[in-house]
Assembly symmetry: C2
Homo-oligomer: 324 residues x 2
């Protein structure tokens, strides 16, 4: 099967019902229409074998995750994902692998009605780059740079599960509370993150700034603060931990907050809500049945701080994943 | 230098004066405005070390080429390039390499006033994926699928130089006409293709179909014919050969037409002009001082044919580069 047959069989077949795609795969470029009143959002993420996933993973999960991490970036801007291109580099033609990859890609894109509009298939060490496009009404994108002192800091859900799974991939600690079924739950968090698109309308209405948590809460909040020229104090007792991560805590092993603060791959959102809007925001959250967690407050003093259980305020150094 | 310092130093610094970029690098996604009356074009191309370039190449040339091959795709749609994202995977941090890469990237993007609006920097085997965005007035994109029988087939310039350079990279034939200076000319064609953006307004006005020649004239014309549900007959005597390729011919070595027909990386355009528009098209070409070459004619019978020097019409099988 040549490159073009691969495209036809595994990628062109992924149907979408979107009417804003004038033409997609099969030309030198895809052509899309942006409805009046919308701005275009573009983000791109590469997943490299051995770095972002293991070559032994089911290709379904790899494709699925590639979509989800990009959708998460669009959601963090308060946008709606719409079109994707996929650049896939493969060491060899493996039709079984491609079948699984295509299935995961189709399922993940289908969840958000995203059209695959183009791509490139090349030979080389296994990796993929997905470029995701989204739309947002004029002027309603939420940036990292909008936070002000006294804004409340929220995270959208429990943290730490994905990075605990990574730890387990490398060396499985022996502990009765972390048996195989617990491990399966953690691994599912790592492989199948679900971007918080449900928060998009509320971000537009209430948030002053937002970022998705891909490098760990501390590192990503630090980015948000740096772009906003503010600082932050996190109340460590309020940081929501994934159930399996809490169990790890109770067992007295490593500090589970390390996974929440410095572990990556959670793909929850971290965002700030101005104090004056907080009551309305919480009312809407309750009404929508969404549990968000206020974990700290933005301060004018630069840098990150942590309020410990005993009430002390200490400096907090981000130490997210570093590629180099 | 961490990933974020690399982005700041080598990529965020690449300035653009575009006012349609609301914000670029430094958020979860970039945000752009599409002017009313325009459609969006998107294309993506990956360059893998050892496949699309040699690791020994100057990083300036690698970045330059990554931009050019993507701009060529936008030009083939009769679009104007405007925004790019870059996903760069590096085996290690090499500031000298990054300095050269950034310089080539900035120079190439600057030629077309393209803004680098985002990207991703990861660790892994050397490769890069550029996703290029362009715009085209509503309904004026030129597709592969618009050719009809009796349309004239044009190529925009001499062919074969890049693939002859590749041949030379692998085994340098000893021939007096192909000395080091000739080789330098060929290698320049391979490393510094120049996309035919000058033809964009004329494609919009006259062309029924277009494609860029990245896999060889035969393979790419075959794609165009397949999408248009037509066939083509090429007049081999009319195919423009690069000077260095012609010399190769005169020396009686391999058939230089093989390089023009089946060699890749030329990044000239192949397009079709309806017979009724041909006189006006040629008048405009003369007026603009652009040399285009009519190399054949579209026919209703499917498949590719070649008219030999002796007037015979024979089947022509495309055999462009295959990744798998």
């Amino acid at each position: 099967m040549d490159e073009f047959a691969i495209i036809d069989t595994f990628f062109k077949s992924l149907k979408s019902t979107r009417t804003d795609v004038l033409f997609g795969i099969g030309d030198d470029a895809a052509c899309m229409q942006l409805a009046p009143g919308l701005e275009l959002l573009v983000t791109t993420d590469t997943l490299v074998s051995g770095v972002h996933f293991l070559p032994t993973w089911d290709a379904y999960d790899i494709a699925y995750k590639a979509v989800m991490v990009n959708v998460s970036d669009i959601a963090a801007m308060a946008g709606n994902p719409c079109w994707a291109t996929l650049a896939l580099t493969l060491p060899a033609q493996d039709l079984t692998w491609l079948t699984r990859f295509s299935a995961g890609l189709g399922d993940a894109l289908g969840l958000f009605d995203i059209a695959l509009v183009g791509g490139d298939t090349t030979r080389g060490p296994l990796s993929m780059t997905l470029t995701m496009h989204g739309t947002v009404p004029l002027g309603q994108a939420i940036r990292r740079s909008g936070a002000s002192a006294s804004d409340l800091i929220y995270v959208s859900g429990p943290l730490g599960a994905a990075s605990l799974a990574v730890e387990w991939l490398h060396e499985r600690p022996t502990h009765p509370d972390l048996d195989e079924s617990n491990y399966a739950v953690l691994l599912n968090c790592l492989k199948h993150p679900y971007p918080r698109v449900d928060l998009v309308p509320y971000l537009r209405q209430y948030a002053s700034a937002a970022i998705d948590i891909s490098d760990g809460l501390a590192a990503d909040l630090n980015h948000l603060c740096a772009e906003s020229h503010v600082g932050a104090c996190l109340d460590l007792s309020r940081i929501p931990l994934h159930t399996q991560v809490s169990q790890y805590f109770q067992a007295g092993l490593l500090n589970p907050l390390d996974f929440a603060l410095h572990g990556g791959d959670d793909y929850e959102l971290c965002f700030t809500i101005p104090l004056a809007l907080n009551d309305s925001f919480l009312r809407d959250m309750t009404h929508a049945g969404i549990a968000c967690h206020q974990v700290g407050v933005i301060e004018s003093a630069l840098g990150l701080r942590q309020k410990t259980v005993s009430g002390l305020c200490l400096d907090l150094s981000p130490r997210g994943y570093q590629h180099f």
